[in-house]
Amino acid sequence: MSSKANLDVLSRQVAYSGEGISVKSLETDIQKERTIQDNKVDELKVLRERNVSIQNAMAEELKKLRKFSDYLDGTAVKGGFWAGFKEVLSFIPGLGSMSMSQRSIEELLKAQYQVSARRVKEAAEYVDTLKQSEQDLYKEIDRINVRIVEMAKNEREALHYVLELKQVQEQLEGEEQAVEAGSVEQRDIQANIDKVRAKLAEHSSNVLLYGSAEERYARLKENTRKLADTIRNLAQDIQQYTTASSIKLDMASAQIQAIGRAADASTVMLEMKRSLDVMTESMNVTTQFVSDTQIFFRSNLDELVKELDTFDEKTSSVLEENLRKSKEIEDARIQAAVDKAVKRAAAPAAPASSPSGT
């Protein structure tokens, strides 16, 4: 007797896309994506350290400029204006041991101007680095999205197939009831049922794996997007601050020269203060930026890293849960088979199944 169930289902190749999936391959893939994220986080950590050093340098320069400004403002302390001014000059690297009369103020201010311009430029250079990182992450999101869609499709395929198999299994089980116990037909039906079960085991595992992979990739994407957003916001902040500082410096250059020259001629001290204020403003803007980004890092990056750690834990627990469930199913299946085998062995042989009956 031929089965009414559609046994073609058993020989059909399920159209999963990608290279197939296993707990190990899924872990490897996820780890690859995580490594990319980790690298970006490392880049941000380096940037944070760099920001700290820039901030320190800026703070020093600001201190010098403010001192200039204070002394020119007539707020010099004991020793009078020139003694104070001499003290100010001692803040300039390499000039600690030199007296006021030995240096040209114009030359000093120009040198300070160039140092300040270099600091702003150094900070501005990070904008491009950050934008590059941001684009790398968006590309990564695109890749993850492809994986998410792929996993979702595969899960759907697996589910459809499992349902089909279930249907065939039920039909076969119905047919089994209708044939004589122990008969060839029954044995044939049972053989097919075993095949269906094997397929069910395989593809029900796929349902779980693809479902889990989809969720995990989705979480990975969420974190990657968060990282990209962090980087984009930081780049925008740096760009805003450095552009403002750079404009201030561009506009102050002629004043710096004019005031330096005037100071060399021991004239127009108030003008000198005014010009220095412009330069100080530029340094203020930049220092503010560095300070802000540090706070930004402290409050965001650490949190982000913490979240990623949490994500690690979640990923591991999901994997463990998947493995545990798979094992449970397999155990249950094996146990059922064993139960059945035991039951069969314990029961007296039915006439229909007796060799003498044929």
Partner: protein, 359 residues
């Protein structure tokens, strides 16, 4: 008016590129001697500025509105770019990889361009904002004398770019307060801080005044003071369709400035299509070996010719204490439209000057 800050004029593309091209070519046409700041670094700075504008790395070019030359911000910009180039290149990675991703996002195309810019910049020698060095000319340990040449290249606060060369001899018996320190090897030297600063501060004085100032320093015998000054530069750049013209905004108030102003409201007012540029290159020397004292600079007559009668006697007495003579000269490089301005300036002063054509 295009002045955006004190003595600062902003030029954008395409006028800025035309201006930089004409200025660069004018340096070549001027056949500058070693009395002037070195031409090659200056030209490389101009090329760097042009390239940074062309690539969109900077939006505008800042020019000193009196001298018509790139100002401190512009000079510093090129130097700063060079100073960060190496580190930035290391962060950017491979240029081919950036070019391959150019279609992916704007940042990669920009970085690829910037990569090329920084690579070129690494090998360039750029014009310094300030640079002072001391060269040993002769050293005679037996007599205790040493002859030096001090060279200062400076972007002056007046906006012009100049080189000051001073040749002097220092006598060792007076080295208690020596102005130049000779290294132990007897081959290298450096000016003392105070002397170096004095030279720096006095760089905008004319050679005659500087000679007298330095000659008075204890233990020093000055032989020659020479200044080579690039600028002022006067320009007129058609803007857009040529309806407007961008000009040097604060031309000097001297004979050249007046001729320039007359041209701007006269023949130059109708010139809306062709960019024009006139650059002046002056030398001013005070030296023991100059035979005849005279000025061939239409913008700077000798001091004696500017003094009133009652000051002449005092001046002559002062000069008799110093054996040097003064010679001043100036040459021009001009596009066809502005050649007449140079000619008129020289004719008015009765000087005969080289006027090189800039095509």
């Amino acid at each position: 008016m295009t002045v955006v800050a004190l003595h600062t004029q902003a030029l954008v593309l395409p006028e800025a590129a035309t201006y930089l091209d004409l200025l660069g070519r004018s340096l070549h046409a001027a056949r500058l001697s070693n009395a002037f700041p070195e031409r090659r670094p200056l030209q490389q700075s101009l090329e760097t500025l042009a390239e940074s504008l062309r690539l969109g790395l900077h939006g505008e070019l800042f020019v000193d509105s009196r001298a018509g030359l790139p100002n401190l911000a512009s000079f510093t910009r090129a130097l700063t770019d060079k100073s960060v180039a190496r580190e930035s290149l290391a962060r950017m990675g491979d240029r081919a990889a950036l070019e391959a991703r150019a279609g992916e996002a704007e940042v990669f195309a920009r970085l690829a361009a910037k990569h090329g810019y920084y690579e070129k910049l690494q090998d360039r020698e750029l014009a310094p904002v300030d640079h002072q060095r001391v060269l040993l000319r002769r050293h005679d340990p037996a007599s205790g004398t040493a002859a030096f040449r001090i060279e200062l290249t400076k972007l002056d606060a007046s906006g012009v770019y100049l080189r000051l060369g001073i040749e002097l001899t220092q006598v060792s018996s007076l080295w208690r307060r020596k102005v130049i320190d000779l290294a132990h090897d007897g081959e290298t030297a450096a000016a003392s801080e105070a002397f170096g600063a004095m030279v720096y501060r006095c760089a905008d004085l004319d050679a005659e005044a500087l000679f007298m100032r330095l000659h008075g320093v204890e233990g020093v015998s000055v032989e020659k003071v020479q200044r080579g000054v690039i600028g002022p530069v006067l320009f007129a750049m058609p803007v857009g369709s040529g309806v407007q013209v961008m000009r040097t905004a604060e031309a000097p108030d001297d004979a050249l400035g007046r001729e320039w102003h007359a041209w701007s409201v006269g023949a130059g007012a109708a010139e809306h299509e062709r960019p024009e540029l006139l650059a002046a290159f002056a030398t001013d020397s005070a030296a023991l070996d100059i035979r005849e004292e005279r000025s061939n600079d239409p913008l700077s007559p000798l001091l004696r010719d500017r003094l009133r009668d009652q000051e002449q006697a005092r001046y002559r007495a002062l000069r008799e204490r110093y054996p040097f003579k003064v010679f001043k000269d100036r040459k021009f490089v001009a596009t066809p439209g502005l050649k007449a301005v140079a000619h008129a300036t020289c004719a008015a002063a009765g000087t005969k000057n080289m006027i090189y054509a800039l095509g």
